[in-house]
Amino acid sequence: MKLIRQTNRNFAIIILIVLPQASLLLFVSLDHFLSDEVDEKLKVDELRITEQLRSNPNFISMAPIIEVKQLSKKSAGKSEIKNVFVYDPIEKEKELFRQLSSIKRINGNWYSIKVRHSIIENKDFALAIGLTMIAILLLTFAFLLLLNYRFSKKLWRPFYHNLDVLKHFSFSGKHEIQLKDSKITEFQDLKYSLEKLTNKLQSDFRSLKEFTENASHEIQTPLSIISLNLEEVLQDEHTEENYKKLYHCYQSIQRLSKLNDRLLLLAKLDNDQFNGLSEVNFNRLFEAKLEEFIPLLNEREISMNIHDTGTFIHECDPILANMLVVNLLSNVVKHASTNSVCTLDIGSGAFSLINETSSHIKQEALFERFKKGNAAQSSTGLGLSIVKRIVEVSSLTIQVELAENEFKLTINKA
């Protein structure tokens, strides 16, 4: 949920809680205040009637507002104020009145005086005032909410813009990040910090990339020199024993340079340095690579069985896709049992390679760097780690099933 919406929602919830309580309070206090006014008025009315009765004993009642009765004998009674239902001949129904009843002695005669005031009107009045107030409050709040939303949106605009820029930020990008200025100190601080951070990230990434390239160069150059000179030495005549020794050196150099290559490749994969995305058709890629690999497979009497049930097209770096396929097929050449069948199952969502194998490696150790299926082999033990990293950076998933002498490797779209 967006921050603005969340704050507005909180605001609205507070209003919804406070507003009924405020209205209730308003209504109760209005009601109370009006009742007090009514009681006051009744007392004044009574006083006026008493004054009137002193000069004019035959005071006319006006039911239901004023009722004056002359009593034949003295009767005790206190003046009291209460709510009563009285029939109103004008409205022609029983209505609620506030009534002050008292018994007074005037000029030697006893009178019962009752003055009333309709409180229905008061309630209506209180209600009207209350409702108006609520309406005003509601309007005010709604207006404030809207205004707040508008202002916040304007206020947060640089923030959201910068957030968007940040989302599309790439370590490997060549350009520095361009963030918008804001009048808000916090946003401005954030902007400066982000710019500092991203620039540092980019420069670190660049120097890391340069380092891997330089390291590659620095290691490959001496390896090249050794290799070239060894090749030259191999041209001369040597004893059988020396030939073997020289060739062992030569092979070790080849292995060392492959190892160096692969470690650098893994470093580059870890640094996300492959991002030339394009659509790769794996059916076609397998087809092309198999053309190269069929003689190699035939050499080991492995026959290839292709099960094509759909076209596997995936958006990834073509160089990595190529490496992946070469690596998987090399694995088959290296580890499949001689005189066996390898099956390539390829569909639109996944492809798998199934082959017989006699090499034993624990499933957990399969993708670990420098774990070899066959310790005697001069392999670098990095092949499947590379496969795994390629799969990970290409948003694919890999699954391996190891059964009795059978190796099944499946690659799915993530």
């Binding site: 390239e213 490959q220 150059t221 390896l223 290799s227 090749e231 090399s330």
Partner: protein, 225 residues
């Protein structure tokens, strides 16, 4: 042919120079861009072997100077592995080929010959080794005058052997030349034996001599009997 090798690593430059001097070519070395520019102004070369990482800049920057000063020249870039940006940029700017370090000298030799041939003979060329004749344009090999039907790999193999005649070629260099990246993850190159065997058989069947010698289990050599 006249070559210029621009490589800052002295030993590597020396090894390359020694190899080409031995095979009778004229080769001049330069250790940095400054020296290379100097050589480029005063000489005409058939081919420049150019390292990317040089002490006074990138070899890529030298390409435009080469194009300006040389009339008919091939450019072969040498670089550390996996530096794909360099490769694309170099080829875009007019380099003709790209070789990654470390490389086999026989591979470099093969590429250099192909490039020089392309610029001198414009593809119209034929390589001869005694009775073996290789027509590059037709991609066809002959024993005397009778054509041999070779597979693509066998043709490349024969060309590689003849280009590097009288040299011991290791199994590794042959496999990498023929299969390139595909054999990167393989450690055993015995599979090339089948191709060697078939090539030998086909040449013998057309009445050719068997010039292919096996060298102590490490590789092969194509040489006069």
């Amino acid at each position: 042919m006249k070559l210029l090798v621009v490589e800052d690593e002295k030993d590597l430059r020396q090894a390359i120079c020694d190899f080409f001097v031995k095979s009778g070519e004229v080769i001049i070395g330069a250790e940095n861009i400054f020296e290379a520019e100097d050589k480029l102004i005063s000489h005409q070369f058939d081919l420049v072997i150019l390292d990317i990482t040089l002490p006074d800049g990138s070899g890529i920057d030298l390409i435009s100077t080469i194009k300006k000063t040389q009339s008919n020249v091939g450019i072969l870039i040498l670089s550390a592995k996996n530096s794909l940006d360099d490769k694309i940029q170099g080829l875009d700017l007019g380099a003709d080929d790209y070789l990654t370090k470390p490389f086999h000298i026989s591979e470099l030799n093969s590429r250099v010959k192909a490039l020089v041939r392309r610029s001198i003979f414009r593809g119209e060329d034929v390589i001869k080794f005694n009775e073996i004749v290789i027509n590059l344009e037709q991609r066809q090999a002959y024993v005397s005058a009778s054509p041999i039907s070779l597979t693509n790999k066998e043709f490349s193999l024969l060309l590689f052997l003849v280009n590097n005649k009288n040299r011991v070629l290791t199994k590794d260099s042959i496999a990498e030349h023929l299969w390139g990246d595909s054999v990167e993850y393989l450690e055993n190159y015995d599979f090339i034996y089948t191709h060697i065997k078939n090539l030998r058989k086909k040449i013998l069947a057309e009445g050719g001599q068997d010039y292919l010698k096996t060298v102590h289990g490490i590789g092969y050599k194509y040489c006069d009997l």
